[in-house]
């Protein structure tokens, strides 16, 4: 029997993977061929989806951008043995787009059947947890500290310190919470991992639970990700059956289990304390810190709350050692970063590379420039609260400190490219509008400031008292940055001020522009 691989990641489905699968089944049966179609996650080259692969003696041969109409021709060309065809891309791993990456966290994504624990084990899965339970909790904490792993949700806080704080806290119960709210626009790495390699997240959470002494984990997934929710739920069931979760994980005598909770369309619930309130069944309102969640978190108990990618980095670190992880990267940003290349870009997708690559290399070498073919004018990095960079800042290396120094932030690694048709005044207005819509309402600078900022932007666009309204925006930005309780209000000035600073020509009124 011949084997084909076809992604069922939401991005592949959005581009018609389901219809391709049906066409293959039809064509194979019409030809009397017996073909097994393995549904995988995506390798992350969204620009090549649906990426169909055939298992051949020379390895897996890919065919990119396949549509149902291509299928008869593909069979005619010898799809099952990797035959020549205009859509043939060869072995995907040999494409420069993949060969130039360092896949640690995303090593299996797009290659394995996401719900096959046998596949997972055959590709190195479960080794991290096995080593963890062999070395004991204290040594696990040591490895994570040594790896230099920093939180991938945005703030870049050292994971080892957080775990150790929760481990040292004394309590009747502790929790591991995975932040899978992935609200930042331009990001999809968490989704891709949950749909393509969910056992890795489960293993990472089990390692965290074992290290800090937590027996219950929650994965809080945004409702906008129905496919990820289904896949993680199914994977948890299977992980229980395989002893990766349950009363005795990996033969350690330690019990750990996970439940999925679904968000309800509130961006602020990605903020860790709002997320905890939401998990408790409340409105997602930000809590004042201290107390730190690691000391008093979910239901008042010590809680490690980490992003999906932070937790998913743990198995590799445990399997290969903290030092091996720390050997990659730049400055104080160690290991690999999963960059999500999005927006107006020719070859968008997930690029996992050691920290330190420049934004320009990423956009030009991986992205292949804009999708529209027009010049790049602005790049927003780090989600809706991230700064807009002009062309002159594209030399900035992907590194937490370097981005901060350039007035931006790396956040969750989302890179959104805009061509020269972008109206930066509209982008700045949107930043206020988004903050107004998604503010939790707890503090005035954010709740009121965002609405006033939006109004001032409208008056500038209408040419009403432009200078006065620009001054008002400067004041609002200062107030929001200084006096907001959390980064929602505190960082909204980032996109606004960077747009004003780097693209002032877009903020003249229509009347001024006509002069």
């Amino acid at each position: 029997m011949s084997r084909l691989f076809l992604p069922r990641d939401a991005a592949a489905l959005a581009l018609g993977a389901e219809a391709v699968g049906e066409a293959i089944a039809r064509e194979a049966s019409a030809r009397g061929l017996s073909v097994e179609i393995v549904r995988t996650g995506t390798r992350g080259a969204c620009w090549l989806e649906p990426l169909l692969e055939a298992e051949t003696p020379a390895g897996r041969i890919g065919y990119g951008g396949v549509s149902p109409g291509d299928v008869p021709g593909l069979f005619e060309a010898g799809l099952l043995v990797g035959g020549a065809h205009p859509k043939r891309v060869g072995r995907p791993g040999d494409l420069p787009w993949f060969a130039g990456q360092t896949r640690l966290t995303f090593a299996r994504c797009g290659i394995v059947d996401p719900l096959s624990i046998e596949d997972y084990r055959a590709h190195g899965g479960c080794e991290g947890l096995a080593r963890a339970v062999a070395m004991g909790p204290e040594a696990v904490l040591e490895e994570i500290v040594k790896s230099g792993l920093r939180g991938r949700g945005g703030a870049g806080f050292p994971a080892g310190i957080k775990w150790r704080t929760a481990a040292r806290a004394d309590a009747d119960r502790k929790y591991i919470v995975c932040n899978a709210d992935e609200g930042d626009s331009g990001t999809f790495a968490d989704r891709m991992l949950m749909e393509g390699d969910p056992f890795l997240l489960i293993e990472g959470m089990a390692i965290a639970g074992y290290a800090v002494g937590a027996r219950q984990g929650y994965v809080y997934i945004r409702s906008e990700y129905p496919h990820a929710i289904r896949t993680v739920r199914a994977a948890i069931e299977r992980a229980r059956g395989a002893g990766l979760l349950g009363a005795d994980i990996a033969g350690s005598g330690f019990g750990f289990d996970i439940a999925v909770r679904v968000g309800a369309g509130a961006y602020i619930c990605g903020e860790e304390t709002a997320l905890l309130d939401s998990l408790e069944g409340k409105r997602g309102v930000v809590r004042a810190k201290p107390p730190l969640p690691a000391i008093e978190g979910l239901f008042g108990r010590p809680t490690v709350i980490n992003n999906v990618l932070t937790l998913a980095a743990a198995p590799w670190i445990l399997a290969h050692g903290g030092a091996a992880y720390a050997a990659l990267g730049a400055g104080r940003s160690l290991g690999t970063l999963a960059v999500q290349l999005a927006g107006n870009v020719a070859r968008g997708g997930l690029v996992e590379v050691p920290f330190g690559l420049s934004l320009r290399a990423l956009i030009e070498e991986w992205g292949g420039g804009t999708a529209s073919g027009r010049p790049v004018r602005a790049v927003q990095v780090g989600g809706p609260l991230g700064a807009y960079f002009p062309e002159s800042l594209l030399g900035t290396p992907l590194d937490y400190e370097a981005f901060a120094a350039a007035g931006g932030m790396l956040g969750h690694g989302g890179v959104v490219v805009f061509d020269d048709s972008v109206d930066m005044a509209a982008q700045a207005r949107f930043a206020f509008e988004f903050c107004a819509a998604e503010s939790c309402g707890k503090c005035t600078p954010c709740r009121i400031g965002a609405v006033r900022g939006m109004e001032a932007m409208d008056r500038i666009a209408a040419g009403t008292e432009v200078a006065r309204n620009r001054a008002l925006i400067d004041d609002l930005c200062e107030l929001m940055a200084d006096a907001s309780l959390c980064a929602m209000g505190g960082l909204t000035p980032n996109p606004v001020a960077s747009a004003l600073r780097h693209f002032p020509e877009d903020f003249r009124s229509a009347a001024q522009a006509a002069e």
């Binding site: 331009g186 989704r191 069944g281």
Partner: protein, 177 residues
């Protein structure tokens, strides 16, 4: 497609319930079952509300009191949570729901103009439902399909690389009575 199915069942059965303002006996039994299924889970309000909305297509006002009682909360707390989250509706949606991404990566690919045009053609605003009750269009901020923007979810199924004609086809299909 599940959402669509639930919503249409909703249209067929909901009229009486909203006349009385109380859940019909069959609905009350369904609500009971949802509450019983979540009796042992901690912080169960969001899972309960999701289940209620999946079953009834929205969170009926008459469901608030029984939910509050079962979870040992005040009615104000439950109402406060329902109103805080964008996902929860206090009235049924159209038979189909199109969630159109309004966030930056989709903006970079012309999503803003695309959405405005579609809403104008349908004669509704964000969150509105077409006059024939067929289609509700909701704003979402990112669907994780940012590398193949502009993107949307129609009844939970992802669509991407949308342009004017593609969106017209989607809307026309969904709008058909």
């Amino acid at each position: 497609m599940r959402g669509a199915h639930v919503a249409s069942m909703d249209q067929a059965t909901r009229g009486k319930a909203s006349n009385t303002g109380l859940p019909a006996p069959a609905d009350a039994a369904q609500l009971e079952a949802i509450l019983a299924a979540h009796a042992d889970s901690e912080g169960a309000l969001l899972p309960v509300l999701h289940a209620v909305q999946e079953t009834f297509g929205y969170v009926p006002a008459a469901a608030v009191a029984p939910i509050a009682e079962a979870l040992n909360l005040s009615k104000a707390e439950v109402t406060g949570v329902v109103s805080f989250y964008h996902d929860f509706r206090d009235a049924p949606a159209g038979r189909h729901v199109l969630k159109l991404c309004r966030a930056e990566a989709c903006q970079a690919m012309g999503g803003r103009g695309l959405a405005e045009r579609a809403l104008r053609r349908l004669g509704i605003g964000w969150g509105g439902t077409t006059a024939n009750g067929a289609l509700t269009v909701e704003a979402v901020y990112c669907l994780g399909l940012c590398a193949i923007a502009p993107a949307a979810l129609l009844d939970g199924e992802p669509v991407a690389r949308l342009d004017g004609p593609a969106l017209d086809v989607l809307c026309a299909r969904a709008e058909a009575p």
